[in-house]
Symmetry: C2
Subunit: 150 residues, 2 copies
């Protein structure tokens, strides 16, 4: 399997920008089957007063709007952190083909942790998962963000 | 515990309207601690080309925008169907106090079924759950919707 580092790099750019806006630094990028970036987003929960405005949800909504469908068949998602159960379920609904994420999230994650959404018998679309690409960098970004806010 | 049937009635009004738009007929209402209806919404997944546009998510986002906070502390949510894992997680993030839902959803539900979001050790806010109010009516609405589309 060939990883595509420039798309994860773009997700990191969004994560850093989110942190600079005072949001938990997480970024996400949706890539079309042809390799085109359909949408990129960072976390905007505080700015939008919206508990659902995680980077993944915003990127998926943008990409869907762009192609005029609620399904992103064959598209891939790059995220700097393990998606939470809300986002993992949305990723499955959107029919994302491959999910690449950097760092695991032991506390809030919903892919390798907690409800492990894609392993549920009631999960009707199982996205392929590739993790660990840039994990240390994502962890350091989050560590620094939470340290600076103390 | 006193149930508040008029709020569930309003959720049913939204569900019926969603069905008439060709969307899966589910409706949701957010009620403030003082009993004011902060937001009401029906499913708009097809209309908005948005896989996250479930009634609950739309109602929570509207209510949050209205009060200018990503937390709906002390607010209650009335839904005609058991929320899915995405919506259940959003309900927890929004700090909804009480969730009232009508019919169980064996296939897609995430409260009493599937990942049982509020029972996960990683769930940090456990909404109180009251189910069954109008269950048969909600089931009949869904049955008729899916029968008519065949």
């Amino acid at each position: 399997m060939k990883l595509v580092p420039e798309h994860m790099e773009l997700a990191f750019t969004e994560a850093v920008a989110a942190g600079e806006r005072g949001e938990v630094p997480v970024g996400a990028v949706v890539v079309s089957p042809a390799g085109e970036v359909l949408a990129r987003a960072g976390n905007r929960v505080k700015e939008l007063s919206d508990p659902t405005a995680h980077a993944e949800i915003l990127a998926i909504r943008k990409a869907c709007r762009k192609i005029g469908s609620e399904r992103l068949v064959g598209c891939d998602l790059f995220v700097t952190l393990e998606p939470c159960p809300m986002c993992a379920t949305a990723i499955s609904y959107a029919r994302i083909r491959r999910l690449y994420f950097a760092a695991d999230d032991e506390k809030m994650g919903g892919v390798h942790h907690g409800p492990r959404i894609f392993s549920q018998p009631t999960c009707h679309h199982r996205t392929e998962i590739y993790d660990g690409l840039g994990a240390e960098r994502a962890r350091e970004l989050l560590r620094r963000f939470f340290r600076d806010r103390r």
